[in-house]
Symmetry: C2
Subunit: 335 residues, 2 copies
């Protein structure tokens, strides 16, 4: 069971507020000077459990050295979310929680834990979006940044992808504008099937790499994605999607997107996948060029967006581990 | 109004049969020796009208020289389709019509017109799939082949894309397993929104190229795709999709996929788009390498799959026109 932190009535960027609790899990021991902290925010449909493949002595994040705080995003079904919130903000009444809101909520948790400074903030996918937002919002408190298959903002093509899966989800007969009384299964399954096409690459399907992930056929993969999403809560999926769509480090900041990225002081290694269909290599190239001193280190992979997911194939995991090692060493022993 | 050709009770590859009529349009004059014929099969959601930007004196297909036959695929809403078929095969009772069936039906039409030999068969997207099938099925009767943003078979990733849009379409409350009494609008709109994400490229959205196509914003583009598809017939969309999924030049032929492509005798120029997300450049590279003497000539474009659509932007249209010109000249005056 994760630990919980009560945010009280948390004031959101939109002006609304949310009675909110963060669920989080820690690994390793906090140093006396609180100088060994790594923060890892959760990703879309992920939880604190999803990152466990990265944790452990000698792991991607060496828990003999680091105190790792893995935080469930608001909306993910573990922290306060449409599916578990008080009635006034439950289901379709759940307010928009932006990426910036997520980061400010995480800051309050770290404050309560006596943590000011982060050795590293890292994450995959939406975890990377939150990591970027951290490095822009608190440039003095983030030593190193490691965004994996993510971006500093939700690109137009990414929005189009998300609006497609949203339309598939909400077209179902049982969705009833979020006021469903039983799961809107047809919509959830359609959501999973549409999403599956975006998650991987052309080569993944061409070479039958799905078999390596345990799917004997393309149909089995589609059925698997449908079944996995049929078990999820539709309003949670939509709340997290709205967070994703809100992601943009330049919102409300002078200097715009470029200015925001140039304001990052963390040592940064940007790790895209060469075949990611929505957090694209092209976008990561732009962002790595804007962050001062950042290194771009793509995962050469046929796994598409999935390349950076914790616990995925050994080659890609090694790439992530090496990048984590290097960005940690570099901020401890800069050139 | 297009002309029509009665196929009688057309025997399908599946063993079923379909009382079928082909609707087609011709441009130019048939030469006395019937030696100036170009065949252009329709594409997904396209009709005989869709290809008109390619037609005309001095056009992509010079109608002063060529007799161009544009055929509506069975299932497209103009030729016999779920939406217009006799009750016994209407709506969800419409049988599977494979790409091979489409080609055999077109052959019967050409027979009736006194045409044996084709100077060229060309088409965009599913039109290209039918063109490949023509060149494999009747290798002695096709002089030149020009597949644009298409493929000789529906790749696994292409299938995943299609199963996603199918799921979005059929998740709607009004679909009722195809027995809808009024259009299943929510599903049709979801279909359009999901499809939009696949039709273009990352750069198309990144650079705001949608404005050039008349969409002021990404949202306007998504709304446009939703509205366009809301007017279509769901069972027609599904029938054409099943045709698309059936596309595979090696089905039922010895030698498999490679053997089928190696059997093509037509002078071939393969024209993919460099940014097509489902009829990918990588697949076209493989196919161009397998067809004897074929030339690969990609459209360098940010328009994704849409790059080869008739009437699209001047640069891409010029690429298509030049390829058509060259493949016609080359088969008339081979090296």
């Amino acid at each position: 069971m994760p630990q919980t932190f009560d945010l009280g009535r948390f004031a959101l960027e939109s002006g609304a507020s949310l009675p909110a609790r963060l669920a989080y899990e820690t690994h390793g021991q906090l140093a006396d000077d609180a100088g060994n902290v790594v923060l890892v925010p959760s990703y879309y449909t992920g939880t604190h459990e999803s990152y466990r493949p990265w944790m452990g002595p000698g792991g991607v994040l060496d828990t003999d050295k680091f105190f790792v705080v893995v935080v469930n995003m608001l909306g993910n079904g573990v922290s306060t979310s449409p599916s578990n919130a008080p009635a006034e903000v439950a289901g379709p009444r759940f307010p928009l929680v932006t990426v910036w809101d997520q980061v400010r909520a995480q800051r309050l948790l770290l404050d309560a834990l006596g943590i000011r400074r982060l050795r590293l903030v890292m994450g995959w996918s939406m975890g990377a979006m939150q990591a970027y937002e951290w490095a822009v919002t608190y440039p003095d408190d983030v030593d190193a940044l490691l965004p994996i298959c993510g971006a500093a903002r939700c690109s137009p093509r990414n929005r189009v992808f998300l609006e497609g899966v949203r339309a598939a989800l909400t077209a179902g007969p049982a969705f009833r504008a979020g006021e469903y009384t039983s799961p809107p299964v047809a919509g959830l399954e359609a959501f999973g099937r549409v999403y599956a096409g975006w998650a991987y690459s052309r080569d993944f399907f061409h070479h039958g790499t799905y078999r390596e992930l345990g799917y004997p056929t393309v149909e089995a993969l589609l059925d698997g994605w449908a079944a996995d999403h049929a078990r999820m809560d539709a309003n949670d999926l939509l709340a997290m999607m709205d967070t994703w769509l809100s992601g943009d480090v330049c919102r409300g900041r002078p200097g715009g997107y470029e200015g925001a990225l140039r304001s990052i002081r963390a040592r940064t290694i940007v790790v895209p996948s060469t075949t990611d269909a929505y957090f694209t290599l092209a976008d990561s190239e732009i962002e790595a060029a804007l962050v001062l001193g950042a290194e771009l280190r793509p995962l050469e992979s046929d796994l598409g967006h999935i390349a950076g997911r914790p616990g995925i194939r050994a080659t890609e995991s090694l790439g992530v581990a090496t990048a984590a090692d290097d960005v940690l060493i570099k901020h401890l022993f800069p050139d």
